[in-house]
């Protein structure tokens, strides 16, 4: 269970309030439902107060007692139980970091505590079912829901809170529990980006795992290494590799006795995901894929046999890859080819698998156009795109991004790929994309972004600082004419090397987004998200 931290404090508090709780439960049973409602309201008020106090100062643990009370007296539906458990570790951690409570009473064992709590909740549930059900349940479940909704509504992902020591501690504890190695940051970070991780490619986290790895499946270890060394790069490639690795994991998985596949497998996947995000922060497409798989796994009916379940999950992963990536790119090519006319000069940036596919298809359909490939250091991904296009026989020109304003007057259209499309219409893509869109707008050249719908994410971002990825700063070191200038950059105290990976482009610079659902303006991304959520 998630409460392994702050065990001591938890149990100590428990024993003091135990009697109080028992009393209250007895009271609740005897008197009418009005009392429990009142009580719920009182608890709700106390919780609100607690949240306010928590903001001012990490206050006394009476609040914690009340939290426990709230979690006990609520109807013990499993749905509400998990938010309670989620809420519990947060205050428990908070109080664990300060001085512990009145530690007078002897600590009971955790299992005993939990068993007692469960017994109490069962009796309470039985008594409640004796009374009127409908109004009771909803009334009591609502106060349970709202206090938990009053919890920090959106918790910031830890990978953008690197300068917050509390968040780091939390992460360290979580990784320790999952037995995943913690990767340490490397080199001096530019102050504007000090809230992001910066790792060195020379120290992959795979070096810190013992062999044989017991917790992490070998295909996941291999995948993590491929991510951190940049062997697999590009949004689609990473997602597909992830899904194939998960297929392998599911193949080798066997349900332990007394466990259900639907619940246990999801728990097994969590340390893998933590490990992968230590190797390289997850992309939006990978996040969506993982969400989809987790949903599928938890939807497996419990009476399904293991072999059948595994087969079903493999099929589901295959169909996801097929529908969302392969067929989507076919659909997008079809729409995009309508926009390519004879005599066009098309500008592309970096290496997007989707844009390359579109251009190759258009060339096969006998459209006459030529391509200008724009590239930038340190990744120089444009060379790969150039290689693929030239192999097809398409006429190409290659420039670096500094020559952009020189070459733009010749261009008739710009095709860009995307890493993710955010809910406010901003396009998150490789660094340099927003520069291209800006200059293209200044020259009145239409900018078309091609993106599959599985890359749409609910996040909102208006600048490239808040959430980004810092690559290895040593990549910026270059050797020319036998001289390596930045070799000892670490010794110069005031020098920082910044190697950003992504940037966001505002929707005013994008004229058209081509998705597998059709051609939409950039401002209609939330509409698509809404329609998708309705479908699901």
């Amino acid at each position: 269970m998630a409460d392994s931290d702050g065990r001591q404090v938890d149990s100590i508090n428990h024993s003091t309030e135990e009697d109080v709780k028992l009393q209250e439960v007895v009271q609740a049973k005897c008197e009418g439902k009005e009392l429990t409602k009142e009580e719920k309201q009182r608890l709700r008020k106390e919780k609100k107060q607690h949240k306010k106090n928590k903001k001012d100062d990490r206050g006394p643990p009476e609040k914690e007692k009340e939290k426990e009370k709230a979690s006990v007296l609520a109807p013990s539906k499993p749905a509400t139980q998990s938010p309670a458990h989620k809420a519990a570790p947060v205050p428990v951690n908070a109080s664990a970091s300060e001085s512990p409570v009145a530690a007078e009473k002897p600590a009971k064992s955790k299992a005993e505590q939990r068993a007692e709590r469960r017994a109490r909740q069962d009796t309470e549930r039985a008594s409640k079912q004796g009374k009127k059900e409908g109004g009771q349940q909803s009334a009591s479940s609502k106060p349970k829901a709202t206090p938990n909704e009053l919890q920090p509504v959106k918790r910031l992902p830890e990978h953008i809170q690197v300068d917050d020591p509390a968040a780091l501690k939390k992460l360290a504890k979580k990784l320790e529990r999952q037995q995943v190695p913690l990767r340490s940051d490397y080199g001096y970070k530019v102050s504007l980006f000090s809230h992001l991780h910066q790792y060195s490619r020379k120290n992959p986290p795979t070096q810190q795992i013992s062999i044989p790895a017991t917790v992490i499946h070998p295909s996941i270890v291999r995948l993590g290494l491929q991510y951190s060394q940049g062997i697999i790069a590009g949004s689609n490639a990473r997602s597909v590799a992830l899904l194939h690795a998960f297929k392998q994991v599911i193949q080798d998985y066997s349900t332990p006795p007394n466990e259900e596949l639907s619940r246990d497998l999801v728990n097994k996947l969590s340390p893998y995901i933590s490990f992968l995000s230590q190797c390289r922060p997850l992309s939006a497409s990978m996040g969506n894929a993982i969400k989809h798989i987790k949903k599928e796994i938890s939807n497996i009916p419990s009476q399904c046999k293991e072999e059948e379940a595994k087969r079903r999950l493999q099929e589901c992963i295959d169909s996801y890859i097929n529908e969302k990536i392969i067929l989507a790119s076919e659909a997008i090519s079809k729409y995009a080819i309508e926009k390519i006319s004879d005599g066009d000069v098309i500008l592309v940036y970096g290496c997007s698998s989707l844009v390359n596919h579109i251009l190759c298809e258009a060339f096969e359909k006998q459209r006459k156009f030529r391509v200008i490939v724009v590239d930038s250091r340190p990744r120089l991904e444009g060379r790969e795109a150039l290689r693929r296009l030239v192999k097809k026989g398409i006429r190409c020109t290659y420039v670096l991004i500094s020559a952009l304003s020189y070459i733009l007057p010749e261009v008739s259209k710009v095709f860009l790929g995307a890493h993710a499309l955010l809910a406010n219409g901003y396009v998150m893509s490789r660094v340099g994309t927003s520069q291209i869109a800006l200059v293209a707008k200044a020259y009145n050249v239409p900018v078309l972004v091609c993106c599959e719908t599985y890359k749409f994410c609910e996040r909102v971002q208006t600048d490239s600082f808040v959430s980004n990825e810092l690559d290895d700063p040593d990549d910026l070191i270059v050797t020319r004419n036998g001289k390596t200038h930045l070799e000892n950059w670490q010794t110069v105290k005031s020098l920082g090397l910044l190697n950003l990976v992504y940037d966001v482009t505002p929707p005013d610079f994008v004229d058209l987004v081509i998705t597998d659902l059709g051609m939409i303006p950039c401002t209609s991304v939330p509409v698509v998200l809404r329609v998708k959520n309705v479908d699901q």
Binding site: K339, N444, P446, D508, D511, L512, I520, P521, S524
Partner: protein
């Protein structure tokens, strides 16, 4: 129903009621076609309808006829056609067709009601060419006892602006006809610009008589509001990126497309105004910003 009969019926509709939108006339003709159709299967029926729509597009190459026809077809087929008997299905489709027709006949009135409140007392309005929807809006505003003056561009090559001026004169609205080239000169005098539309595209931009884009650019430069009034059946699933990207079948009149070989010598009849230049669109679905048009289109077409 023969092709020529269809075209004749369509032309007759326009002759009898000159005030009707061409798309409405087209839909009436399509409904008549549906009633007289003799096909045996639903698929055959749909095919015939599609052919009829193409035939009408060839007669009158406006965007509205094309969009109206497609929406009509979608609307009547968007119902359960699981009846075993074909005539029953046909009746269901005819019923829905009548419903659609009734709805869109009222749309011009709805737009007029929405828009006239944006015209303040003493306003000077600039409009382009001849639009029946704009006429309705100004009619409503005048009926509301508002005082305003109107400037209409001549709109060559067919001098449609002069026709508009005559109609406005009949309503006792002070109107001045100006040259197309006067738009930049007069923009500082006017308070707002209202134009109609032949088609509203997915990006939120509009396709309208040539000269509209110019007017939009000038009004943006002077920070004057640029309003477009259009009924919802003019929403079309096109996404032009620039002027070149608009299909030729809309730019030129139908007979010219058939007879002339080198289109470079011909004068295009319409142009495309991008959404960044439009302040608001008034439709029977409500007052929309250009970015909301895509939302409405997704709802209409999905």
């Amino acid at each position: 129903m023969e092709d020529c009969n269809l075209v004749e019926y369509f032309r007759a509709q326009i002759r009898e009621d000159p005030d009707v939108a061409s798309a409405v006339a087209a839909i009436r003709s399509l409904l008549e076609f549906l009633k007289r159709d003799q096909s045996e299967t639903i698929l055959g029926l749909r095919e015939n309808m599609t052919k009829a729509i193409h035939r009408l597009e060839e007669t009158d190459s406006s965007v509205a006829v094309s969009s109206g026809g497609e929406l009509f077809l979608r609307f009547i087929s968007l119902t359960s056609l699981e009846h075993p008997d074909l005539s029953q299905c046909k009746n269901v489709m005819i019923e829905r067709g009548e419903l659609f027709l009734k709805k869109i006949s009222l749309s011009r009135g709805k737009v007029g009601k929405l828009c006239h409140t944006f015209i303040k007392d003493g306003a000077k309005i600039l409009t382009h060419s001849s639009s029946r929807v704009v006429l309705k809006v100004l009619e409503n505003a005048a009926a509301d006892n508002k005082r305003f003056t109107v400037y209409v561009t001549e709109s060559q090559p067919d001098s449609a602006g002069k026709r508009m001026a005559q109609k406005l004169g009949k309503l006792n609205i002070p109107v001045t006809v100006v040259l197309d080239a006067v738009v930049g000169y007069i923009m500082e005098k006017v308070d707002l610009v209202i134009v109609g539309a032949e088609g509203v595209v997915e990006s939120g931009g509009v396709i309208n008589k040539i000269g509209t884009y110019q007017m939009a650019v000038c009004s943006k430069a002077h920070n004057k509001p640029f309003y477009v009034v259009a009924e919802s059946f003019k929403f079309v699933r096109l996404y032009p990126l620039n002027q070149q990207d608009v299909p030729d079948r809309f730019k030129y009149k139908a007979d010219i497309l058939k007879t002339v070989k080198d289109l470079n010598q011909e004068h295009p009849m319409i142009d495309y105004t991008p959404p960044s230049l439009i302040t608001l669109l008034f439709t029977d679905l409500g007052v929309l910003t250009p970015s909301a048009v895509s939302d409405e289109l997704i709802k209409l077409y999905l």
